[in-house]
Amino acid sequence: MKKSVLLGALTVAGLAAGAASAGTLEDVQARGKLNCGVTTGVPGFAEPDAEGVWRGFDVAVCRAVAAAVLSDPMAVEFVPTTGKTRFTALASGEIDMLARNTTWTFSRDVDLKFEFTGVNYYDGQGFMVPADLGVSSAKDLDGATVCIQTGTTTELNLADFFRSNNISYEPVPIETGAEAVQQFLAGACDVYTTDASALAAQRAGFENPAAYTVLPEIISKEPLGPLVRHGDNVWGDIVRWTLNALITAEELGVTAGNAKDMAMGTNNPEINRLLGSEGDLGGMLGLDKEWAKRAIMVEGNYGEIFANNIGESTQIGLARGLNAKWTDGGLIYSPPFR
């Protein structure tokens, strides 16, 4: 309580100070670098590779925004944040946007005064158990010990789920995913629960993946997306529509490979508006006409980014599922570019 009041007071002080400065867009352009908050590492979503270059599904969003605003996808200063430091880093202005597997919730949007600019991955919390436990549904887990990461929405979901189903459990709180996996493999807990995407990624790294099963229940909605601070709508629009441009590009069949040719002009007016050969959508954002083209040419459209970082051909091996585009029965949907 005390902490939250103090933090709140400081947030207000920070916001008041922040409001005095120019808009985030001008700051980023003056700096020549986008400060983007990411995780300290989640396989497939954000991780530095052996050369130290950040890669991943969330990282791609940062790079697309950097390409749209600064014309250079590499002009990003990645600021690694933990679950505990991410919101203060954003509120204090240390980072311009946060693309860090963050679940869009009411309190984060409203109470913490952030603005979620869309959803780039629809996740949900799942359970993994050893196959020889003989459990086929999460409702059979009465009395189980559960490994769970602290300070995340999964902790709260778990409590809700077990309470509403009237079954008991014993939580084993754990700090990072790697420690949770180690505990789980060592048998310290019967069940490991976290976002289904992370479960799949971790399971892929097991010595014997077949010995573990992911239960069919998904007990929560975890819409993950990039977010920015309240109070700078111009910047919020840029991040939102950059993500939408990637999604629309997939719907329209614009890829990293053909964006350049299509930008010359096509018969489809929506493609023309998106890529800037018709109308001036970029101007309305305070950017130039080709912003979306540059964003798409970094790592391709949404579908390409998905396939290259976490899709079925990668080690993570996630199916599109809910994250298929809406015409394929998924939830990925962008408002029209008009």
Partner: protein, 518 residues
């Protein structure tokens, strides 16, 4: 009388019988084992249990080590190699090979520049030797030690050579100012003290005034939404009013204290020197060094603090914080024993406050809270913030250790120093500290070792020291997902080497300094 005579004895032995070997049970390994391992039934049982556990452990761990794979690109590949060799267990030491650079230097330090921190490390050893083994190395090597911080700063962070050189020059200038003020005649110094007193009184009053305004602002922004906020807001308001009332008296008091001290000269010298170095660093450093650099550019590629990582970061934090916190700790310990209430009060409050707060809280403050208090675009170096916090933390502990040493000195030592006519500085430097520090060595080393290991806490505030590197980018990478024992064993190994050396050194040093007659 005996019947036997010397003449009648057939054989007289002239040399003594050679000692026969002790019985098998009283010699060699058997004796040692009987005495040390099987002296009683209880000990025998314990020995057997211990041997059983050690054998289990070795039997479990040795194949794992022996079958270790040193050449693979991913954890999957590594496991396939282990399985292909027909082994059930095997370590994936390949991760150490694959991410060696990252473990040592962090993943963002430019690869072409790895020689710089390496050279800085080698020079560190050269620079530290004459300090550690002062009897075995020429005293002239201490010059290198004095210059080392500037060389290392330039090597690791890069940028223009003129920045560290200018800082060095500023320090010399400040020392000159200090000497000049110290050697002034009393009347001159009184005049100077008047000026400095007025200025620093005004400065302090201004600082307090702006602090009061800030407190009032915070109080307003907390608001009165609920009972707790109201109380918190009122507390801040009260603090603010208190500061408003006292900013002028405090300024006058401090200004007068400086002026009043002119004859003795301690305060005025100190304040003038501090003001000099502040002015030099705050206003002259940037323009002068960039001006020289534009004429004679000597530059290395600049590496921002955020790009430091791996074991290098642990070493940077450890070495800087230990070497800063020892002198600071000495000052605090002396300050705590001071007769001047202001100095004593400040030192006591500082030490007790810092000791009462966990290090992790201070690090969170350094990482996230400070960002709120500073203007949004100002970029106060993160490593510097962390160094300040860790140094404050450990200096408070070292101060208490040294206070213990000071308290252990017999009162006669202080009185003897006084009776020799030594003033406070001389007595402290020549009589008190050498003895007190010698007593404090084990405590200081204890704090230093603890501090060095505590630097791994920075991984919690998303800095990539060696543990942060392991927990974040290595364990969470697609290639090495959830690798565990290999990397943590490596980290434990490197820390053990350093900490064990420090501890061995301190034992040696204690033997060297032992002047008591046992």
């Amino acid at each position: 009388m005996s019947d036997t005579h010397a003449q009648s004895v057939a054989f007289v032995r002239h040399d003594s019988i050679p000692p026969s070997p002790p019985p098998a049970t009283q010699a060699g390994a058997v004796k040692w084992m009987r005495e040390n391992l099987f002296s009683t039934w209880l000990n025998a049982a314990m020995t057997i249990i211990a041997v059983y556990f050690i054998a289990r452990l070795v039997g479990f761990a040795f194949p794992w080590f022996w079958n270790g794979v040193w050449d693979a690109d991913t954890i999957k590949e590594c496991r396939e190699i282990v399985a292909a060799a027909g082994n059930t267990t095997g370590a994936c030491f390949a991760v150490l090979v694959d991410r060696w650079d990252h473990l040592l230097f962090g993943f963002k330090y430019p690869q072409a520049e790895y020689w710089r921190p390496t050279l800085a490390f080698v020079l560190l050893i050269v620079a530290i030797l004459p300090v550690l083994f002062s009897n075995h190395f020429p005293r002239k090597m201490l010059i290198l030690t004095g210059l080392y911080p500037f060389i290392a700063f330039w090597l690791i962070w890069g940028g223009s050579l003129w920045v560290p050189l200018f800082i060095l020059a500023s320090i010399f200038l400040t020392m000159a100012v200090f000497r000049a003020v110290e050697s002034m005649s009393v009347s001159m110094r009184t005049m100077l003290a008047a000026v400095v007193g007025v200025l620093s009184g005004l400065g302090l009053a201004y600082l307090l005034y702006s602090g009061a305004t800030e407190l009032w602002f915070i109080s307003d922004s907390i608001g009165t939404a609920d009972a707790f906020s109201t109380v918190a807001s009122l507390v801040f308001k009260a603090l603010s009013v208190f500061t408003y009332i006292f900013f002028i008296p405090m300024g006058i008091f401090v200004g007068y204290a400086i002026f009043n001290d002119a004859e003795d000269g301690g305060l005025v010298t100190l304040v003038t020197a501090l003001a000099a170095i502040y002015l030099l660093l705050a206003y002259a450093l940037g323009p002068v060094s960039s001006a020289i650099n534009s004429i004679i550019p000597i530059e290395l590629e600049a590496v921002p603090s955020r790009d430091m990582g791996g074991y290098m970061l642990s070493m940077i934090l450890g070495v800087i914080c230990v070497s800063l916190s020892i002198p600071l700790g000495i000052l605090l310990a002396l300050g705590r024993q001071s007769n001047m209430p202001l100095i004593k009060g400040v030192c006591v409050v500082f030490i007790e406050f810092i000791r009462g707060v966990p290090l992790i809280t201070l690090l969170f403050v350094a990482n996230v809270m400070l960002a709120y208090f500073m203007p949004p675009q100002s970029n106060f170096d993160l490593i510097l913030r962390v160094i300040i916090m860790i140094t404050m933390f450990s200096s408070a502990y070292i101060a208490e250790v040294i206070r213990g040493g000071l308290a252990a000195l017999p009162k006669g030592q202080y009185e003897a120093a006084d009776s020799l006519g030594l003033n406070y500085t001389q007595a402290t430097r020549l009589i008190i500290l050498p003895q007190a520090l010698k007593i404090s060595i084990p405590g200081i080393v204890n704090v230093a070792v603890g501090l060095f290991k505590d630097t791994t806490l920075v991984s919690v505030i998303s800095m990539f020291d060696i543990v942060g590197m392991i927990r974040g980018p290595i364990q969470q990478s697609t290639d090495w997902i959830s690798i565990y024992w290999e990397v943590y064993l490596f980290a434990a190994g490197v820390f053990f080497i350093v900490c064990f050396s420090i501890s061995k050194y301190s034992q040696w040093l204690e033997r060297q300094l032992a002047t008591d007659h046992r």
